[in-house]
Amino acid sequence: MIKEKRQILIFLLFAIIILLVPLFLKGNYFLNVLVFIGINTLLAVALNLLLGYAGQISLGHAAFFGLGAYVSGILTTRYPVDPWLALVIAALCAAALAFVIGFPILKLKGHYLAMATLGFGIIMYIFFNETVDWTGGPSGLSGIPNLRLGPLTFDNDQNNYYLVWMITLGVMLLSINLSHSRIGRALRAINDSEVAARVMGVNARMLKVQIFTVSALISAIAGSLYAHTMMFISPASFGFNFSVELLTMVIIGGLGSIYGSFLGAAILTMLPEFLRVFRDFDIVIYGLMLILITMFMPTGLIGGLEALVKVIVSKIKGSAAKNA
């Protein structure tokens, strides 16, 4: 009970800080980066539900992100569909696709699952590139309208910031709730020992498909938000590299930690700004980070930070005891 209250408090604190930030960054370019951090956090949380909670890897999550973006983009540019409706349709399309492919794919384990999701990602990438009549092919799809809410149009950084972060914060809260529930426990049980989970009555196959579907749904919402805030999309944003980037966010942030996903997304979104000097070598840096984190901080940055805080607290307590 006390633990639960503390969790709510931490979340409220986090949410308040996030919502106050734009007040200090009026008209700043950095606000634009923060919008991307919001979208990437949404994606990282989605992948974390699958990878961190249920322990099922996906190397093709950029495909769901892309699917959301393209469904939304195509519906609003080629047909007179309202952007909000397009967002909902995009999310449902991705969820339906994930549900259908989830049954055969999630029967696979470990490397085989990685290969299957990798293949799925590549197929979708080719699809985005080649169906030129719909997607505009490699040159992209432009003129995607902004989302609107009454008199409010989400066409500037500040409005986009609130739009993206309200949704991201909502999904983060739901994910935290899920983690400490019957379903969250069953997912973590599957992660630790699928056989034992099944013996305890957990329908592992169904639950894995369900969480895969939810994960795809959230990723597609992120894709739709991306399309409507950027107003332009091209296949390059939804390729294999981005799937790996998402995976890196989740792992360096901390598997199973929702705030870790935020941290990972924030670091990997800002990193390119600092890594401009390395140009195309950024993928090498990601790889290096991944190796170092998995070797020295297997619980990710969040786990590392927690350990650090514990050490400091015990040091302070220790010295206080000495002085007394």
């Binding site: 739901l174 994910s175 709730n177 899920l178 529930s181 019957r182 379903i183 969250g184 426990r185 069953a186 973590r188 049980a189 992660n191 630790d192 020992s193 056989v195 034992a196 989970a197 099944r198 013996v199 305890m200 009555g201 957990v202 329908n203 592992a204 369900q210 969480i211 939810v214």
Partner: protein, 250 residues
């Protein structure tokens, strides 16, 4: 209670079990013994739905449960523990038992994520029940410990608490005494009787003969994938074929 009929299991060209049949009386404690490689664990894996037998049928009461999935068997009240202790290592002791209560609750992803009132109520009941089963095995003090940090003997007890949380009709234990010291084994024997007193049928695979002879009411002996003998502990101890299988013939 549990009836196994003509189970045969082939692994490629290897025959692990040949035409094994026996039955377990309700509320009894039955031991399955045999030298290493006799096929005891294979038999357990078939009964609990982890392996698919080549031939033969398994009945729970009057119900044919051959080829049922483990998660379905759990709902029907058949549960097992593992030889190598399969705990959910990254979860707390209490949470492990709460997973055992999975079939006793029904909130889905949606109501869990949105914390609907029904889910909150259910969560409270699940938590209380889980504490009750920890008390049952005496692990109450360790409720918040991460399961991977438990010593081996306590891990065994946790596995039993978790299995009990399923509220089974029948519980199958795969070598519950393996790796336990003599004091822990004595405690285990007591616990097994306590489980029986709740009206639950128990089947154990076990190498610890002292424990088997002490708690079991009937014993099935397997050797090289075949049923060698079946009977009360006394009958088994006097059975020539059993003695030959264990000590070798002269």
């Amino acid at each position: 209670m549990l009836r196994v009929e003509g189970i045969t299991q082939l692994f490629g060209g290897l025959t692990a079990l040949t035409d094994v049949s026996f039955s377990v009386a309700p509320r009894s404690i039955t031991g399955i013994i045999g030298p290493n490689g006799a096929g005891k664990t294979t038999l357990f894996n078939i009964v609990t739905g982890l392996y698919t037998q080549t031939e033969g049928k398994v009945y729970l009461g009057e119900k044919n449960i051959s080829f049922f999935e483990p998660e379905v068997l759990a709902k029907l009240g058949l549960v097992r523990t593992f030889q190598n202790v399969e705990l959910f290592g990254q979860m707390s002791v209490l949470e492990n038992v709460m997973v055992g209560l999975h079939t006793k609750s029904k909130s889905g992803i949606f109501s869990c994520a949105f914390k609907l009132p029904g889910q909150i109520k259910e969560e409270k009941i699940v938590r209380e029940k889980a504490h009750k089963w920890l008390e049952f095995t005496g692990l109450e003090d360790l409720a918040d410990v991460e399961a991977c940090n438990l010593p081996f003997g306590k891990g065994r007890l946790l596995e039993i608490s978790r299995a009990m949380a399923v509220e089974p009709q029948i519980i199958l234990m795969d070598e519950p005494a393996a790796g336990l010291n003599s004091r822990e084994t004595a405690g285990l024997a007591e616990l097994i009787h306590k489980i029986q007193d709740l009206g639950i049928t128990i089947v154990l695979v076990e190498h610890d003969m002292e424990l088997v002879m002490d708690v079991c009411e009937s014993i099935v002996v397997l050797n090289l994938g075949k049923k060698l003998a079946e009977g009360t502990p006394r009958e088994i101890q006097e059975n020539k074929a059993v003695i030959a299988a264990y000590l070798g013939e002269d």
